[in-house]
């Protein structure tokens, strides 16, 4: 047992380092020392392993379902570091997200900001019956269409009960954990990005938007499945107050359905009444 109190001896710091009791600067300096001394490194490794036994002795705490759902939702948005040596990585369903992103906006149909005139309404009302291929162009056009309603006012989340959140959270977790989960990143009208995730096996999908704007009173977001039969309502939702908004679409998804989101009056509509803020096609 050493009783040296020589502050300059790095060996004296192995205990503090293993317990994360050094400042970041001290820890960095210590690691530099350890890099050039095998015996210092060995002692440090052993004491760090010992500290994890202290960690194992702590009583476990059960996390909320919501924590897992949010985490699983974030995985597709979180790239993994490359391996040092390329191994034959197990198959990943989405090798290149870039090629799945819709073509760059080419549309130039700049609509004037919504005046909600009847003619305007009519012009917008049937976008969903157009061939799916041009939906991305519509979405791009919608990017230029930033109505006054989008000005970020207070976020409303009042009419969603905790039970609904938890149920929807476990559905989201089920989709993101499915063996055949696929994803696609699409543009949102206000300039952000949304991620669509779906599983053809489950016939379910979800839309996730980081930082989705809140809507004024009397408006909600509504999701749609769009295919040859038109647009099928797939549930309404509001923006989350804490960053990530997600919505698990109601109803069954068929492979190839497009997924869209519009702004609708509270309670939702049976057919879309505005241009979508985002659209993407599943595969």
């Amino acid at each position: 047992m050493t009783e040296r109190h020589d502050d300059s001896d790095p060996r004296l710091l192995t205990g503090a380092y293993s317990l994360d009791a050094l400042s970041p600067e001290e820890a960095e300096a210590f690691e530099r020392e350890a890099a050039s001394s095998e015996s210092l490194r060995d002692e440090t490794d052993e004491l760090t392993l010992t500290s994890t036994v202290l960690g194992l002795a702590v009583a476990p705490v059960t996390p909320s379902d919501r924590m897992k759902a949010e985490l699983m939702a974030k995985l597709p948005l979180t790239p993994q570091l490359p391996r040092e040596t390329p191994l034959s990585a197990s198959e990943t369903p989405e090798t290149s997200s870039a090629e799945q992103v819709p073509d760059a906006p080419a549309a130039s149909i700049a609509e004037p900001p919504a005046s909600s005139g009847a003619a305007h309404q009519r012009a917008q009302s049937r976008w969903f019956t157009r061939p799916v291929g041009i939906l991305t162009a519509v979405a791009a056009a919608a990017a230029l269409f930033v109505g006054g309603g989008f000005v970020g006012s207070a976020v409303i989340n009042a009419n969603t009960t905790t039970t609904t959140i938890d149920a929807s959270a476990s559905q989201l977790a089920a989709i993101t954990a499915a063996d055949d989960v696929q994803r696609k990143v699409v543009d949102v009208a206000d300039g952000g990005k949304a991620t669509l995730v779906w599983s053809n096996d489950l016939g379910r999908s979800a839309v996730l938007v980081d930082g989705l704007s809140g809507l004024p009173d009397g408006k909600v977001y509504e999701a749609w499945y769009i295919n040859g039969d038109g647009a099928i309502p797939a549930g309404t939702f509001t923006a989350s107050s804490d960053g990530m908004t997600w919505h698990v679409l109601s109803g069954a998804m068929k492979s190839g359905d497009a997924i869209g989101v519009t702004v609708e009056p509270a309670g939702g509509s049976t057919a879309p009444t505005t241009t979508p803020i985002l659209v993407g096609q599943s595969a």
Binding site: D20, A21, M67
Partner: protein
């Protein structure tokens, strides 16, 4: 190699049941982008990770936030885990403890927490009823090893590891020189290592 008791209810061999994968092999799958493997790894380790983070941070909501960051980092850096020389549980808990410490030192969190708990509550209550036999055994093992330390070593280690205080802060709290704290932490950890039979 340290013999960490990282089994949980799932690892007991049940006849006819699918063989349960080790945390190391799950991490290997996670490194390949396998979300299903990640989901399983999460289910089996999240209570441990959250338990440790919450031990340091106290506040539940903040602890979930940090635990979530830990798991995202596990996802992100699983490619860097060396299964041949590391213990997966140890790797994850080290990450969890560092993240919790970062949070407690970088924000108001530490201050708020200090107002909610007294120093004397820092040391964990090893006698509380545990959920599983394995954890009870683990508690017993650590408790016995901790009993071999001097009261001063035990106090310094508990303040640092469970309390999240830096060695400088521990020195301030106990009104002793930093050099003395460093010695207590090191001597105490070496004693613990020997009691627990840890070799690398």
């Amino acid at each position: 190699m340290l013999e960490l008791v990282t089994t949980d209810r799932g690892t007991t061999d049940i006849e006819g049941a699918e063989a349960v994968q080790s945390f190391e092999s799950l991490l290997e799958l996670v490194a390949g982008g396998d979300q299903q493997a990640f989901s399983e790894l999460y289910d089996r380790t999240a209570p441990r990770v959250l338990g440790l983070v919450k031990r340091v941070l106290i506040d539940h909501a903040q602890s979930e936030e940090v635990a979530q960051e830990v798991f995202l980092e596990i996802w992100r850096t699983a490619t860097k885990f060396e299964a041949t020389r590391g213990n997966a549980m140890s790797w994850m808990l080290t990450m969890a403890h560092r993240r919790a410490i970062d949070r407690v030192r970088s924000s108001q969190a530490g201050h708020d927490r200090d107002e909610r708990i007294g120093l004397r509550d820092i040391e964990p209550d090893y006698d509380q009823v545990s959920e599983t036999v394995e954890i009870r055994i683990e508690h017993e093992r650590v408790k016995r090893a901790m009993d071999k330390l001097t009261a001063l070593q035990r106090e310094a280690i508990s303040l640092a590891y469970y309390g999240g205080y830096s060695h400088t802060e521990v020195a301030g709290l106990l009104s002793i020189p930093v050099g003395t704290v460093k010695t207590r932490l090191r001597d105490g950890m070496i004693r613990l290592r020997d009691e627990l039979g840890v070799t690398s």
